[in-house]
Point group: C2
Chain length 486, copies 2
């Protein structure tokens, strides 16, 4: 591709002759890495017209750069960046700056102070990636996804591909979720009670903004999904962590000032506990007494290969008190950024308006692709395939954990894609994870999941959604060895 003439500007009060300025402009483009070797420069005629200078001025500048070996000429086809021109490793533009903004004052709010360890972006290079929540290319039905995407790119779907939905969603996707996805969780919802979100994260965020303010209190589970805690800590609200037991959240311990309860009853995150039916009734009763709302994050419900999942808490809700959050990140892939939120109409109306203010809507093409993938049955087939594979991996993990004497702190009775583990008290799993890294083992340290200053340091999570079955045993052995020598 040629270098566009539109990227050249003379400075208003430039120094030196016009020719010198043009030369400098091009040399800077090359030196900064903006122009690459072999790229074609605009013709002298075009550049002269664009800059409003005479053509001879540009020609002289080019000739000079030719002599300096910044450019080469290829007969009549024009001027190109020379192979001999100095090549910087990466584009880092020459900055003409004298920054004088006091950022401590200019930034009204800070969001970059979360205490979460970033997941390694190169996790695919690990030999033993016990990573959680990432896509395994072997389990994903790439071929059919691609076919659905291509269909959604067709002329018939042009509007769904390109249109500004304003605050609306793809009706095909909404209908499928209402008719097929939610009924699996025992939930009956009309289209007006469903909003598509940019994954569960976006859904939780929308709920927090709508239901909370600085006078209200959110109760979160302790431990909980760290991104939820981070999100609420950055909202203007009070956050009250409540320790979970082996059955999940304890309704009778909910404080009187509770306004919104964030919970994962089907599959507590990260301990994987499933809340028994009686406790669910208690929870709804207690919420009614407190006049509190409940936000149910029903992540990973599809991965129920060890037993039938119990219906969602939302299916027992007669009050309209439960806001339900679902996601395709685990069952399809996280980069898709598609989830949904279900609630009574007054809530969804506000969520729709807020989503529209913040981002309008998730891209139409992606919504339509997912609608096809779901409605053609590929999704169900994929879930079955994933469940089978996860079941085998889980079996391997359970037996390796037993063989090498590791301690399970919580194991999803339905299935899922991770085990919640504990190491002896003296072991700091953050350090352990770092040490294991050099042996190609990725584990997720557990401290970030806990609230407050005195986070237990000896928990960790073992995901098995992205690690091959044959790697599980040897990986667990390395973990056991590292714990023993810690």
């Amino acid at each position: 591709m040629g270098i566009s003439v539109d990227t050249f500007f003379l400075e208003l009060n430039g120094q030196g002759t016009l020719q010198a300025q043009i030369q400098q402009m091009i040399a800077e483009g090359i030196l900064s890495g903006r122009f690459h070797v072999g790229e074609k420069l605009p013709s002298s005629r075009k550049l002269a017209a664009h800059l409003g200078v005479s053509r001879i001025t540009v020609t002289l500048a080019y000739t000079e750069l030719l002599a300096n070996d910044y450019l080469t000429a290829k007969g009549r086809s024009g001027y190109f960046v020379s192979q001999n021109a100095p090549v910087p490793p990466k584009y880092s533009p020459v900055q003409k700056r004298d920054e004088n903004v006091d950022w401590d004052t200019a930034l009204a709010r800070r969001f970059s102070d979360g205490d979460v360890l970033p997941k390694p972006s190169n996790w695919r290079d690990y030999k033993y990636p016990f990573i959680y929540g990432q896509a395994d290319r072997k389990l994903f039905d790439h071929a059919n996804w691609r076919l659905c995407a291509v269909r959604a790119l067709g002329h018939k779907d042009f509007a769904s591909l390109t249109g500004d939905y304003m605050d609306q969603d793809d009706p095909l996707l909404i209908e499928f979720i209402a008719r097929h996805t939610l009924p699996r969780r025992g939930i009956a919802a009309r289209p007006e009670e469903i909003l598509i979100t940019m994954g569960a994260q976006n859904a939780l965020w929308l709920a927090s903004r709508i239901l909370l303010n600085r006078n209200r209190t959110a109760v979160i589970e302790d431990p909980c999904y760290y991104a939820l805690r981070d999100l609420l800590n950055h909202s203007d609200c009070k956050v009250s962590p409540l320790a979970v037991d082996r059955d999940g959240l304890t309704p009778d311990a909910l404080p009187d000032e509770t306004d919104v309860i964030f919970t994962t009853p089907s599959h507590q995150s990260p301990t994987t506990a499933t809340m028994p039916v009686d406790r669910r009734h208690e929870l709804l009763k207690r919420a009614r007494e407190l006049d509190a709302m409940v936000v149910e994050d029903d992540y990973e419900f599809e991965m129920a290969f060890l037993g039938s999942p119990s219906p969602a808490l939302k299916s027992m809700d007669r009050d309209g008190r439960v806001i339900y959050v679902g996601s395709f990140s685990k069952s399809l892939f996280p980069g898709l950024r598609l989830g949904y939120i279900v609630g009574s109409e007054p809530f969804i109306r506000e969520a729709r308006a807020l989503r529209s203010l913040v981002l309008r809507h998730p891209p139409g093409h992606i919504q339509r692709t997912a609608a096809y993938f779901l409605s053609l049955g590929h999704y169900d087939a994929q879930i079955r395939r994933m469940s089978k594979t996860l079941a085998r991996r889980r079996e391997a993990l359970d037996s390796a954990v037993e063989q090498y004497g590791l301690t399970v702190a919580g194991r999803g009775i339905m299935g899922g894609s991770s085990l919640w583990m504990s190491a002896p008290d003296r072991v700091d799993t953050t350090k352990l994870a770092k040490k294991l890294q050099s042996q190609g083992v990725h584990i997720e340290p557990g401290a970030s999941f806990f609230n407050g200053l005195h986070q237990p340091r000896n928990f960790y999570r073992l995901g098995y959604s992205s690690i091959g079955r044959d790697r599980i045993g040897p990986g667990v052995k390395l973990i056991a060895d590292a714990i023993r020598s810690a």
Copy 2:
């Protein structure tokens, strides 16, 4: 697709015999529209196992429904929803509810009270769609977009398609924007100074959350893009509208308490005024005096077919005071939801963290598709094609407006895709638009663009990005007739 067995649940304290409960469950599924004619029911064996009842109970329930003509049996292939079963027009589930949430209390914040008229979603059916900011299928290079999307769906790009980028972006897209897009606006930025957003709306929202709080004042142009005003009115900040003149924002009228200035210097929205270079210098000088930040929305800069666009305000910024917002919504299509925000690193760091809290990142596949479309040169070709077509339409519009005696209130000297018009004072363009609707003419009433209670009612916007050239003359005639008879 068959009806999944997972969507059947017996109620805990269900009324009647098990057989009756099963019958009722299926009848409800049909009556509510959840099950469609011809869909296959689970086998009696599967359903019995799932519900934990005897198979004969299910078989009896099916037989009864067969007799009632809700189901038909096709020999050994099973039971299907009968063609004679009652079919409701749309899925509207039977709600077992007794809603008792007081939504006035439960909703901590409201977002659904904007005063903006929704654009008609059926605008493609209008004969004379003077609509703004929508995609014209005739101008979009569908074929090449599709090729790029398919390439980005390939195995090599699997990670970009599926991966959880956490808080990162597609490096290919970022690099292209840094090397090719921003230099066209005279802007030199490093990758760390660029963040991909869900369109310009998302970029403006991020900037407002980071730079403002309840003690700070945002200055907006009056009139301005109504979605920006709506967004700021829902932020915890003070909003101070400042009337624009024919050259845009007036720097010397900026109030002393200004913290953040939202401006559209290249192409004022909606008046299309271009701010002269001297005034841009003044604006930056005044911002420095006030120690205020400037958010520059550089929308539509690509549509400069009447004259070279002046460089962005950001290109003149040595202080690091200008936050630059760009978008692909106008040049590609709005349903894409892709834009970018450029600023100094301390700002981008916070924007990245906030974006991650709210939605993680724009989907990887879309970022990669755009990166291919841009880097293969299709984007430039598309812009050239669009500019040529828009230039011809603009010519037709200019001459029709003159012929029928309409009044132009602002016309972009660079080009753009709309004219800002005024009708005589007595004409309420909201009513005018409604009246024209019955004649197949869509115009955009101008009142929503103005701040405050006393919005002028006689302005309107004529978009020409989605209307064929031959329709422009007849459409303008209808508008002129309607104004005369108003």
